[in-house]
Amino acid sequence: MSSGSRLAEPDTPLDPAVPAAGTEASCGHPDGVHATARIRATYNGRVTTLPQLRSDGPFHLRRMRTGGRAATVGIIGAMSAPLGGDRLALDITAEDRAELEVTTAAATLALRGPTTAPATYDVRLTAGEHACLRWLPQPLISAAGSNLRQTCTVNLAATSRLLLREEQILGRADEEPGHLVSRIRVHHAGRLLLDQHTAYGDPAPGWDGPSVLDGHRAVGQLLVVKPDLDVSRAPVLLREGIKDGCAVLAPLAGGPALLATAVAPASSALRELLDEALGHALATAGR
């Protein structure tokens, strides 16, 4: 990482939904990496172009070769991140009628780093009218001793389409996970569609019990938002038990959206569940 002298800092609140008084703005570390990468896609009447493609810190952005009118951007990790104290942000915008897919080349590994201070990783996704945005990163791995607060803030115009997949792997093979706190907020046509907050790994209370993860180490979501989505149908259940992983695909209340929620013992089973859920979601949508 960029700095060799990371100083200890008092713990910041564990839960962004309930910050302790007076400590709200103190996350990040003076010597951590502060980086904001930006992607802006526009539609020029023929194809999607990328007038802004700004790499920063650990995010090296690369335009991938694609056919058709869509643009695809790959994010390549230029350094190990996030480490404790880092403040990372990704700003991704598909303007009106643009069609943009963003992926990451490899899993994102949250590590402890030289400080136990939390790192922050904020992803902001914006899609304009008739735009199509696909955010399909590789999993985020919460390694032992890491401390990461992640947010994903999505703003969607009424006629936009979104496909979002988030996967979290709690600990590398046979290690306890770090502390991973995430909040996702999705607005559609100005209305709140989804607001969810999760906290896994010690010292989050109760996270591994039978009402939250029950020993599973891979958890993920897939969100499909599409103006013409048929959300009147019954939820789809994947797998009957819970031991080998399970998922549900169900409509949200506030807009044309389907959300799949899945838990699994490991990443491969999780991806299988989410892929299956995607198949159901697209079948529902009638493409």
């Binding site: 309930v18 607001d195 999760t198 209370p205 019990g209 029950d214 949200l252 209340a253 506030g254």
Partner: protein
């Protein structure tokens, strides 16, 4: 505030329909994830810090006088599966009936007229608390306690657990429940300056998934 009013509102015998709901524990018992007092305690602790915190925040905000219709939308956004939205609204209707009969209030009447199919239960509970002269933290406390009391009672029936051990479990969780209620009330107090985003949205993947599984069963003892 009246401590007796809080006891009445939080009493498991308050006739608001809660006795027929297991808070997800029936599904967890079927999956053998809850099978004894220790696994029940882990279940309750997880539920307290996820659903419990979120509902306590909504109840506190309603008790503090936030617009109940906006809170109802916020509750929808925090409840991603239809089975739990349906349960929350059904229990909201039942809570509304009991609350209007017990703590008559124009605010309850107004919400009942505006949401005839039911508002999310913690919002009704918060307005009932308000009508009873209770504080937002009282409302949060009632919601947080209910988040663990319901599953504990249901598990006693489902697994024939020792009710004394279950009571002890609830006593062990009481400090955490108080802390959750205090957090929730603190968040509700920040709504004025930060908007509804200040409210907790803590969630649990397994409660969502297994609630839909449970709703699809043809044979079950509890409604949720």
């Amino acid at each position: 505030m009246s401590p007796a009013a809080l006891l009445l509102l939080a009493d498991g015998r308050f006739p608001a329909g809660g006795h027929a709901h297991s808070g997800g524990v029936e599904a967890a018992v079927a999956h053998k994830a809850v099978h004894d007092i220790n696994s029940l305690e882990a279940f309750c602790r997880g539920r307290l810090h996820t659903t419990g915190l979120t509902t306590a925040g909504l109840a506190a905000a309603a008790a503090a006088g936030c617009d109940p219709l906006m809170l109802d939308d916020a509750a929808d956004a925090r409840t991603p599966v239809p089975a739990l939205r349906a349960v929350a609204r059904k229990l909201g209707r039942q809570m509304m009936r009991a609350a209007r009969a017990t703590f008559p209030s124009a605010e309850l009447d107004r919400l009942a007229a505006e949401r005839p199919r039911g508002a999310h239960q913690p919002i009704v509970q918060g307005i009932a608390a308000r009508a009873a002269g209770l504080t937002p933290e009282d409302a949060a406390c009632a919601a947080a306690y209910e988040a663990v009391g319901g599953p504990a009672t249901a598990a006693v029936r489902l697994l024939s657990l020792d009710p004394l051990a279950a009571s002890w479990l609830l006593a062990r969780l009481s400090t955490e429940a108080d802390a959750v209620a205090a957090n929730a009330a603190g968040a509700a107090a920040r709504v004025k300056t930060e908007g509804l985003d200040a409210l907790p949205s803590a969630s649990s993947p397994l409660l969502d998934i297994t609630a839909e599984q449970h709703a699809a069963w043809t044979v079950r003892l509890f409604a949720s």
